[in-house]
Amino acid sequence: MSEGPDERIEVGEGRRNFLKIAVAGAAALAVGGAVGYYAREGEVTALKKRVEELAAQVGVEVGPVLEENLNIYNWTWYANLALVEQWAEENNIHLVYDFFEDLDTAISTITTGAAQYDLTVISDNEAQELWEGGYLREIDLDKIPNFKYVPEEFKGLPYDPDNTYSIIYSYGTTGIGYNADFVPEGITAWADLFEVDNPDSVIRRHAGKVTMMRDSTETLAAAAIYLGYDIDTTNESELQRIADLLIAQKPYLYGYVQTEDYMNELPVGQRYYISHAWNGDIAGIVYASDEYEVYIETYYDNIKYVVPEEGAVVWYDNFVIPKNAQNIEAAHAYINWFLDPVVSAIHTITIKYPYPAGLKYVPVEIKNDPMIFTPSELADRLYLGRALTPEERAIREQYWNMVMTA
């Protein structure tokens, strides 16, 4: 497997040098040095200086007086924390930036009402369930002038048509990642993973080297797309067909694994090398991205990601403000800051997840990587989940449970 840097990218000295990145055609933003704390200090200062310059160029305005505290609750590996900390410092905000790693636990935290977060990031249908359930506070778009930088296609999405409660954070798809060293013929469709009766199919030829997600929503949806059903079907005969399909597939799987597992295993390929996966995570492998460091370097160009021909689940993560939030102004200010195109761009370069508001300033290598920015021509075969009631989820869990214990 190759670990060499991609040729498209301008390389500095040494293997882990940080790259000079063209930002808005202006002067290059140089960040780097040795790793570690002192390095990050320098990095933050450099970033701060750049952000100030760029902010002056695009005209970011100073907002209203903010509260002293802000409790943010977000996924791990989902923002450049150096930049976030710098923002807090500049605005004299005591920032609590808290992580979750599993949306289910995060939603339970928010809905029981014990923990008070001012701002969190929740996916599409879950966000809808939350605002319908009365757990979210309306967002005042007047306090977020940078909302105008959000491209139109990310405004008014079906789960919140007027952006009353949510503002796009990032988005992506759930497809198939694989190690091309072991699968030179490539993968194009769900059929490759589900046609277990065809001895020439990918799954038969690579039996035992394939994983599906240990996530009922995603894996049921994958089978549903292959069978041509609604990804959130609650029709029991359809669910039965889905379960049958998954059970038939099961003997040819390595197992149902979690993100961390396939992210570590795909590049090695010893246990398995084809995984039902999220695009951003595959990008995370390829670029070995970090929470602090701004660089573009390809670590594993043999790792590929594909949105299957039949279609795939698309998901949108959103800023939302929980009902019991205390520091409303600060939350709005943070959203506004994040939607600043330059800020969004830096986050994108750091994390390798697309933050739509920054598209304009993202280097072309990233902008053109379909693994990060899902190409718009795929739009008609992407399926967005809908809000489900607990009863509906209970039915789906039944069939998932059937698969898992078969």
């Binding site: 979750f100 090695v268 670590y299």
Partner: protein
């Protein structure tokens, strides 16, 4: 007999070696240059520099230690009271209490964590590090109880009576005689209670206030999507080293009373 003792000794060292094997792996990879956690590519101290600068790790490490210590003290004290009461006094419902004390160990943690959270909301207690402690103590009492009670099973009450005939009141008889004799059991209970708290993720995750991280919460968050950063290996190395040094020093300086 001699041969048997030798076999036993060899066995013990073998088991110890096996227990340490995964730790050795962690330590080796803490010096790995590559981001890969499977293949060792070259020696570096980079992970240690990055660990030094990672204030979130230190914060959560510190939180884990101090909450764990408080949890251990409180739950072991309560467990000793309980085990002592059950072993010393006859009263109706004793066997019932014995079974009841198992429930906090049995209950699936997620049920326990969420219902405690609901309860805290209902009675209006705000989340704080103390709610984490409260939650941990609630199941740690049981863990400690089971261990202390096992040790107490063979404890002869005549020791305590002897102390009383020698002029010790009940409290001093308990602290000067009963406690020291039970000490190995109590130490075992304390270690178990501490470990349960120190390793707890689910309950901590739900009962903590925003931003309050313990080491497991930090590691779970960091590890479960991207695989843990190698500076955590460096932390593991650091912790093992400290622990072994501490054990060694303790053994050297402590003049045991018994």
């Amino acid at each position: 007999m001699k041969l048997f003792d030798k076999i036993l000794k060899a066995y013990t060292y073998t088991v110890l070696a096996l227990i340490y094997l995964p730790i050795v792996i962690l330590i080796i990879f803490s010096f790995n240059e590559s981001r890969s956690k499977v293949v060792f590519t070259g020696f570096t101290l980079e992970n240690y520099y990055s660990l030094i600068g990672n204030y979130r790790v230190w914060d959560s490490f510190y939180n884990s230690i101090w909450t764990g210590a408080v949890v251990t003290v409180v739950s072991v004290v309560l467990a000793i009271l309980m085990a002592y009461g059950v072993s010393r006094y006859e009263f109706s419902g004793k066997t019932l209490i014995d079974s009841i004390m198992l429930i906090p160990i049995i209950i699936p943690e997620i049920v326990e964590a969420l219902t405690l959270l609901v309860f805290l909301v209902i009675i209006g207690i705000e989340l704080s590090p103390y709610t984490v402690i409260i939650g941990h103590v609630a199941f740690d009492i049981s863990f400690a109880y089971v261990v202390v009670k096992a040790r107490m099973a063979g404890y002869d009450p005549q020791f305590e009576e002897a102390a009383r005939t020698l002029g010790a009141d009940e409290i001093r008889a308990f602290t000067k005689v009963t406690l020291p004799i039970l000490a190995p059991g109590i130490a075992a209970a304390a270690l178990i209670a501490f470990l349960e708290s120190y390793d707890d993720f689910i309950k901590t995750f739900f009962t903590r206030p925003p931003g309050f991280m313990t080491l497991p919460v930090y590691i779970w968050n960091m590890a479960s999507r991207r695989g843990f950063p190698l500076d955590l290996n460096a932390l593991a190395t650091f912790v093992v080293a400290i622990s072994l040094i501490f054990a060694y020093i303790r053994n050297r300086i402590e003049r045991r009373v018994y």
